[in-house]
C-alpha cells in the first residue's frame, strides 16, 4: 500500500512537472493539393472542415481566435480540421512564428504545388467541384460530411458572427 502511494505520488508529480513545462508545437504540413484532397476525403470523421487561411488577411485573423477556442474546447472531436494556408513554402517560418505567437495548434497545410495565380480557384475547385470559388475568399470554408457531400459552403457575404455560429454547430 505504501509503495502504491509512493508510485502514485511520483506519477502525479511527474505529470504536474510535464504539464507545467509542456512545450507548444505548431502543426504545419507541406503537401501536394492532390494529397490534401485524399486526406480530406479519406477522413472517417463525421465532418471535415476545409478552411482557407491567409495570415495577412484581417478576416482570417479576426475569426481565428474563435475557431481556436472551438477547436481547443471541443469534447467529442467529431470533426477534422484542414486549414489550407496561402503561405508560400519558402515562408513556412513566418507562418510558424504566427502560429507560435497565438498558440494555434490546428493542422495547417502549405501547398507544395501552390499556383502562382489563382490559389483560391485552383484549391477550391480541386476539393469541391460544385463550389462557387468566385464567392469565396480567405476565412471562407467548406464542410463535408462523412460521405464527402458538401454540407456548408460559406462565402464572403457571411458576417464573422455567422461564420462562427456555423463552426459552433459542427465543431463539437
Amino acid at each position: 500500500m505504501r509503495y502504491l502511494f509512493i508510485i502514485s505520488f511520483f506519477l502525479t508529480a511527474c505529470y504536474s512537472i510535464t504539464a507545467q513545462n509542456e512545450v507548444f508545437k505548431t502543426n504545419i504540413q507541406l503537401i501536394e493539393l492532390e494529397e490534401l484532397k485524399e486526406e480530406i476525403f479519406e477522413s472517417e470523421k463525421e465532418y471535415k472542415i476545409a478552411f482557407i487561411f491567409n495570415q495577412f488577411c484581417p478576416a482570417s485573423r479576426d475569426i481565428f481566435p474563435d475557431l481556436d477556442k472551438l477547436y481547443k474546447n471541443s469534447i467529442q472531436k467529431n470533426f477534422e480540421l484542414f486549414i489550407i494556408s496561402e503561405t508560400k513554402e519558402k515562408n513556412k517560418e513566418d507562418l510558424k512564428d504566427h502560429l507560435f505567437y497565438y498558440g494555434y495548434e490546428e493542422p495547417f497545410y502549405i501547398l507544395k504545388d501552390k499556383p502562382l495565380l489563382g490559389f483560391l480557384k485552383k484549391t477550391i475547385q480541386s476539393i469541391c467541384e460544385g463550389c462557387d470559388f468566385k464567392e469565396m475568399g480567405y476565412s471562407s470554408f467548406i464542410i463535408f460530411n462523412k460521405n464527402n457531400e458538401v454540407v456548408v459552403q460559406t462565402n464572403y457575404n457571411h458576417t464573422e458572427e455567422e461564420l462562427v455560429s456555423i463552426l459552433e454547430k459542427y465543431m463539437q
Binding site: 507545467q20 512545450v23 507548444f24 512564428d97 504566427h98 507560435f100 505567437y101 497565438y102 498558440g103
Partner: protein, 207 residues
Amino acid sequence: MNNRLILLLVSIITFSVSAQKEYTYNFKNSDSLDAYIERYELPFQEEDIYITKDSENSFRPYYESKFLRSPIIYVFNEEGQFLESINNITSEKKLANFKKLRKRPEKNEPSLDFWTSKIVHYKTGNDYDDPKKYDYTFVVNWGVFEHEQIQQVVDIWSEWYNVLMRQKAKGENIKIILFNIDLQERWELSPYMRKFVLENVNRSWGE
C-alpha cells in the same frame, strides 16, 4: 482594417488617451490588482508582478520619463542594456522569434537597473532581487485601466504574456517583469500627498 491596428493608431503611444477621460485614477493594492486580473482573466502569474516601490524615488522618475505607458514592452539584453521597445505592431514578429530582436543596445536609454532598482513585488513588497542572468528581460507595462477599448488592451497583454511563457517552456532563458504602473497604497502617503498626487495624475492622465 484590423481592429487591433485601429486600436494601435488610437492609443498605443500613451495610455493618457481621450477614451479614458471618464476614468478616475486611484490608489491600488494587491487585492485590487488581483481582482482586476481575475475579472479580465489575465493569465499573469503572481511571481512576475511588480509595482513601484515609492512615490518620490520610484514612481516620479517614471512619471517624468517616457516609460510610463501601456501597452508596451521594454527589452533588455543579458548585460541589462536596453535593446528596444515592442508595441502591438511589432510584437508578433519579435516575441515569436527572438532572432528578430534588435542586437545592438540603444546607447542613450537607461539600463535595466533603472527599472529593477525602483520596483518591489506586488504582494511581498520585497525589492527586485534576481541574481540569475537572463538572455533577455522583458518588462511588460500594464495597469488597472477602464475605458472603451480595454478588452482589446487586455487581450494584447494576455497574448504577450502567453507567448513569452511559451518561449520559456520551450527553453528560452528569459525573465518577464509584469510592471504595474498604477498609483500604489503601499507608498503610504499622507492624506495631503494622496490628494495632491491624485489631483495631478487625474488632471494630466485624464486630459
